[in-house]
């Protein structure tokens, strides 16, 4: 069976439903996240650290739900190797979703922190090599940047993972690049 023939719409809605469901004891996390979001522009390190912890945990929770949903579905297809099916779920469902969610959450984080798009681009686009002293003649004014542009620059430079293989390569080469 081809990947494109799977009922992705049904599976996506199943994932969304499970992600949306919360235990009553998790309610305080949502509330805490809302409060932290409001305080992000104050640039207090402990707030940012807690915010990132909560958001990463949310993304990872969603990725695990995605993994389990696809694994459950693939298990019913036939009796072939279950680890091969897990690989398929990781490569084609989980890793692309990780990439997409990272893009959404990092852009939302930068926007809520009120970081100027020019600054995002300046730090993330890895353009230090073309910096010129202020006032140098002949320098063109760049087009108005956006946070999404900055993120896409970053993605192009660092190759945000679209597949598990890219993730593995990135995890080896990327550490220290962004910090």
């Amino acid at each position: 069976m081809r990947w494109s023939d799977l009922p992705h719409h049904r599976l996506s809605s199943e994932i969304a439903q499970t992600v949306a469901y919360r235990f009553p004891q998790e309610a305080h996390c949502e509330f805490q996240l809302r409060e932290l979001t409001a305080r992000l522009p104050e640039l207090r390190e402990e707030d940012h650290s807690e915010y990132v912890r909560l958001v990463s945990a949310e993304i990872n929770r969603e990725l695990r739900i995605c993994r389990d949903t696809y694994r459950r579905f693939l298990a019913t297809l036939n009796s072939k190797s279950r680890t091969a099916k897990w690989e398929v779920a990781l490569n084609f469902a989980v890793a692309p979703r990780a990439s997409e969610r990272l893009q959404q959450e990092i852009c939302a984080y930068l926007r809520d922190t009120k970081v100027k798009p020019t600054i995002v681009e300046f730090f993330l686009a890895d353009n230090a090599g073309v910096l010129v002293p202020f006032g140098e003649p002949g320098v063109k004014t760049p087009k108005e940047p956006s946070i999404e542009d900055g993120y896409l620059f970053l993605r192009a430079q660092l190759g945000i993972p679209e597949s598990k293989k890219a993730v593995q390569e990135r995890i080896i080469h990327r550490r220290g690049t962004i910090r």
């Binding site: 009796s79 990780a98 910096l131 962004i178």
Partner: protein
């Protein structure tokens, strides 16, 4: 593209922005580690499948099966040097050639021994490209001509069978686990 920033201002800019720079990196890392953890889980599961499969196989099948399965994925035609390396590994594992070959292979070993040619290692048996010009290449059985095949061919056949047994057992393990 230029940002029209003075060089002296860069460190000041960095100090003012280092919190979100490092935290965005942390978010990225946290998600990448989750993906990596999922990959590691699959690898461990595969390893445990392989260990479960190997437990029910003979020593030769459990050693030669995975070795040949791996090599056959890398080469269309396995070079002699690689065959010799595989043979050396089986020799180091202390697995007897004479006891493992199928009857036809054993007979070739005996016939060679009668000619004072003693082949006792897998490495030699896999690497020899003739039957030393002492054995008949054809024999007649009940009026039909049969090609005996060389020692290397019979030795390699043991590997093909080991690989097939290994894969069958793996499939069986997968099927059992798929029902869990």
């Amino acid at each position: 593209m230029s940002y029209r920033v003075k060089c002296n201002d860069i460190s000041m800019l960095y100090d003012a922005n280092k919190i979100w720079i490092s935290q965005a990196g942390r978010m990225w890392d946290n998600v990448l580690y989750e993906i990596l953890a999922q990959q590691v889980q699959i690898d461990l599961e595969e390893r445990s499948d392989a260990i479960a499969a190997v437990e029910v196989l003979s020593r030769f099948d459990s050693t030669a099966g995975p070795l040949y399965a791996e090599v056959s994925e890398r080469f269309t035609t396995i070079p002699d040097g690689v065959w010799a390396d595989i043979g050396a590994k089986i020799d180091r594992a202390g697995i007897s050639l004479a006891e493992t070959l199928e009857p036809e292979g054993k007979k070739i070993l005996r016939d060679l021994a009668k000619q004072k040619m003693f082949i006792s290692t897998w490495e030699e048996a896999l690497a020899c490209d003739s039957d030393f010009d002492v054995l008949e290449s054809k024999i007649v059985v009940r009026g039909h001509v049969k090609y005996r095949g060389m020692l290397a061919r019979h030795t390699k056949r043991a590997f093909y069978r080991a690989r097939d047994k290994y894969r069958n057992v793996l499939e069986h393990v997968y099927e059992k686990r798929a029902l869990v």
